[in-house]
Symmetry: D2
Subunit: 290 residues, 4 copies
């Protein structure tokens, strides 16, 4: 993360010759200073089309025009290359809505990062199906919404959550050990915008009580996975994963405790990649330009 204001272009397009030259030529022509750039050619397998991915940070002050004009001028190039693209501005803070249940470890971790400006974001509100963490959140000056989710109010509860997210202008929804399965239409409404932390090394141990599943199988490492939420439970594109060593002496409760340490770290890393526009979704996979 650079201290000066910069624009971040992320794009993907069918692979062909001349893509980097075209894009960086445009930037150079206007005197743009590139701070960081990453490129990836995905050859596809078994008859898929090759696809090209890029991420470029340009110092804002080096360009002779503002973001709106940058987008306008870049649009024809993007069109010619059949790009999916966007340009974001480091001066515009991302707005991250955090969903929690009763467990506090991920929330404490995220708020510590937010407090220290390590995560330089806005948290317009926290939403929870319990009010356990209300005081902690409000002490930080962040609005807290208690939206109970019970068997017979789910559609209304998820509609309320979606309304709250829209009302505060949320960019990203983070499920920080939020223990409810989101409604499929909520997932579908924000593709690539909802991050979850699952407490297993996916695809092992999908669903409930993964540490107990891991205990039963006798694995020697347990993990956590940060992924985008889709309508298929625990099947969305994976952003980040990590593992920690355990042994025969660890009970499921010990695994829960060990697991928290990787859950919060993996979630924080995945969230950071997402917020810095380092993650490009490719089908059910991700390109992560770290």
């Amino acid at each position: 993360m650079h201290s000066e204001r910069f624009y971040t272009l992320t794009a993907s397009c069918p692979d062909r010759t001349g893509i980097i030259a075209r894009v960086t030529g445009f930037i150079a022509e206007h005197g743009g200073w590139i701070l960081e750039s990453s490129f990836h050619a995905d050859p596809g397998i078994e008859g898929e089309h090759a696809r090209y991915f890029m991420r470029i940070e340009v110092k804002a002050a080096s360009l002779p025009f503002m973001l709106t004009e940058l987008r306008e001028r870049f649009a024809p190039i993007a069109a010619a290359l059949q790009m999916d693209w966007k340009i974001t501005d480091s001066a515009v803070k991302k707005r991250v809505v955090v969903l929690v249940s009763k467990q506090e470890h991920c929330l404490y971790d995220l708020l510590a990062r937010w407090q220290s400006k390590e995560l330089d974001i806005e948290i317009p509100c926290v939403i929870s199906n319990h009010d356990t963490l209300k005081g902690f959140v409000e002490w930080h000056g962040i609005p807290f919404h208690h939206v109970p989710v019970v068997a017979d109010n789910k559609p209304a509860a998820f509609a309320e959550m979606q309304r709250l997210f829209a009302a505060v202008g949320g960019d990203t929804m983070v499920l920080a050990r939020y223990m409810q399965i989101l409604a499929p239409d909520l997932c579908a409404a924000y593709p690539g915008c909802i991050l979850n932390i699952h407490h297993s090394f996916l695809p092992s141990f999908v669903g409930a009580k993964p540490y107990h599943q891991a205990y039963q199988r006798g694995v020697k490492l347990i993990g956590a996975t940060c992924h985008y939420v889709t309508a298929d439970l625990d099947q969305g594109p994976i952003v980040e994963q990590d593992v920690i060593r355990i042994d025969h002496s660890d009970s499921p409760e010990d695994m829960v405790r060990y697991g928290k340490d990787i859950e919060k770290t993996v979630l924080a890393r995945g969230l950071r990649y997402h917020l810095e526009d380092r993650v490009l979704i490719h089908g059910n996979k991700t390109v992560v330009f770290r």
Copy 2:
């Protein structure tokens, strides 16, 4: 591993008070010097019975009798405690039969460890369904048996392998990336004696082409698992696992290459634990006293 000769007692039994006292009291009574000792109480979950596991190394020279008498004298104690137990002698080298196919990385790795006496074992023979590695094995002075396995000779081939294993007095069979599925009755004949290295972080990606499965799922770490072979493919008790980080730029072929590095390390570690009698099987799980 100690330089002096020692006996290793491994045992498991129903948990109760006084187990350690009884066993170490017996050793102390005869002046036995304990070099290393490990204990584990498994409480069981959901109504299982608690079970106790132990491993004790005693300096051979500190005891006033030989191994046979040690076993005789210990037997009544073991019976009283309803133990599954054995005592091995560090002076008796384990006899390890290695099975390979065409890939050499695990074999080179094992023979380097054997050559340097890091693995202080006998390798009475190597068995392969191909003759690719014959010269390499024979250069080391180890007999090589080519036992082709094709669709219509499997029973005969596995019978021949079982015969060879028995003929050389094998203790342990190691599948060092041996690409055939062993016959169920061969697996059943040697429970807790056959180690396999599977090229995924089990239980993810069971079966064929796990790296391609991992590529398709877009995981961010790949792994390898050393486990005991049972009649259920890739379902046996896990001895050791490890993982390595990959990213979007890695093709399935890159993963195969990265994976080799953990396969050989995980296999070597799992094999060492097994050979040093550090692994006690508990249902479909293992206690590994490292």
Copy 3:
């Protein structure tokens, strides 16, 4: 950590035959149920004396007497074996005084663990040379003491800290990124009671700005070290360490950010080992029974 009340015996003594038998015989004689036990024989190198270490958890309810009597009855055995020993009671919560400066990541992490009872301790107070974190600490209902440390008040400041620690009956002092070097006599007053987290993989990069030192040297992994504080800066016995991968694109500021994630995890692990009496100091090294 077990849910039932238990006593933890930790001890070290010159190695000889019969130690385990003597100790566990005593426990068995009184019907003590051993929950967990660990033993380690350190052979010494180059003429040092061999030394024996142990840690045993006994279920409190299984013994027919209370802790005071347990200690009295065990004392003669300990004396005969020339033991350094202690017995602690899981029902008596450890009292941990936390020292911080301005950085919040370790403090948030510790308080989240304390809040969730993952760390089942008392935090009688937090002491800081700044008042930055006062509100956060007090919101948790924990007294906060601002003890400024400046060039010309150091003896008085450290005396005040020592007074506060004594006044609240502290067992353990944790330097959670407390950026001052403690006075030698404060260190000497509480040997094996003060834990620090140093932001490098010791012994590399002792002293100030270790991440900048790491950047200059071009290392590919950075680390953190939890160690006991002694009068020699960053030279005390190491309890726990870990590392994280970086690369050429990471600035010193990036390293600081990555480093925080391992600092808090390493500190929390080291502190847990210490609080559960899993750490036995041996000269300038530690035995850690995990």
Copy 4:
């Protein structure tokens, strides 16, 4: 590593606007298909000049001219940008001379990779100060040169090694646990061409017996470092490092054994990065485009 022939351009130059555009514009102009590209802007610290690094793989068949002409045509651009640069051809195998002493683990590991073409290189010869591994090397059809190094023949021995390296047209010299310190003028003759594996996590434990040093300090992880050899012992630019966890029960001999596993992996990874022209030296540090 791609299956098709490609050219790899690596370059560094003072940072300025338009570098990528200029270089990729040149490639695009001639229809060059970029397979992989990496860029890094090093801002410098404390008044150093910012420097730019790049590595680009271009499919050979996509260009309308051969390598010689590519170099001629690129030279003026490189000159204008004040580049240090080179272009290599994937069809020209690198020639790697391996130096060993008596320990076999790194040699077995490298030859297994070479045998399987995982490392697609020529090994024109192996040089050793002992003849221990002569048979093993020659069995692989690789010439083996025994060049004893003793106190009073060092200048002659190193001169002979340099003569052998030159005679076989070596590109890279690999010290695969070669236990002698190379003469300074040999180091100086091949800057950035000689790779060593040091058996510690540098900068900790420089020099002799690092595992014993690690044992004495009581560290909880041990490591290995692959670095370029310079005249300053163990001070050259670091290419790759890794660590492995140990504990109080590990003797120095155990550490030696554990360490071998990371030594060979770290050496193999560092060597691969070097051979694929992924390592660019920057003062006493490296940029490694993985």
